[in-house]
Amino acid sequence: MKLSKQEYDQMNKQASPKSKLLPDCLWAFFVGGAICLLGEVLRTLYGRWGFALTDAAALTSATLVALSAVLTALGWYHKLATKAGAGTLVPITGFANAVVSPAIEFRVEGLVTGVGAKMFVIAGPVIVWGMMASVIWGVIYYFIRPLMGG
């Protein structure tokens, strides 16, 4: 065939439909915003019930994680995510979904080699690189702290 790779690349770009940016972003905005709003409501409630600020925040995260786990197990989180995109990916509920879904999926490969080994197959990188960044920041902070007059 006479067709060159560059030519084909151009043809492919024209033939491939683009994501619908506006509806995608609206879905992400409203679903993501709603999850955060729910978080704020929970945080306020926990605060009213007498929990300290940091405890209320941790409890809020735990509640959202548990809620996401239930929705994931029922197969509903996935259904919402096909519409909401980043709206369900970016909040902590998305992190929980990334942990719970492989746990359910790979249960048939055993509790150790399936659930245990595969649970962090998607979320693992978040922990690895988040932790690396925090350790590096910790070391930097240790050395710049005296300069900051701390």
Partner: protein
């Protein structure tokens, strides 16, 4: 009022993620990593704290907030334990979220089954 800001800021942070998905070839896993690392960096620069105070859960529930949590944890731990804190701070701060996900994952794997999507 803080409810409205939580909604708006949280929604906006998700829209940024959606733009990254639609306009770049980034996979979801990369976006999550980017968010957490960006959260650490923004927090280290001192820019995330004001946002968290202003928008509450709108800033802490998205994964940027998870990065912010890690960075804060490390600062607290360095204050208390010196250089050792750089190693212990992150995991201590993140322990709640990670353990909750882990426990939920194990329970869900015992109670639920993989289901067809169609």
């Amino acid at each position: 009022m803080h409810f409205l800001w939580a909604f708006l800021v949280g929604g906006a942070l998700c829209v940024i993620g959606q733009l990254l998905i639609d306009l770049t070839a980034m996979t979801p896993a990369r976006i999550l990593v980017l968010y957490v690392v960006a959260g650490v960096v923004l927090s280290a620069l001192g820019w995330y704290m004001p946002l968290a105070e202003f928008a509450g859960a709108g800033a802490t529930v998205p994964l940027l907030g998870f990065g912010h949590l890690l960075a804060q944890g490390v600062v607290d731990a360095v204050e208390r334990h010196g250089l050792l804190g750089a190693l212990t701070g992150g995991f201590s701060a993140a322990a709640g979220g990670i353990a909750a996900s882990l426990v939920c994952g194990v329970i869900a794997s015992l109670l639920s089954k993989s289901k067809d999507q169609s």
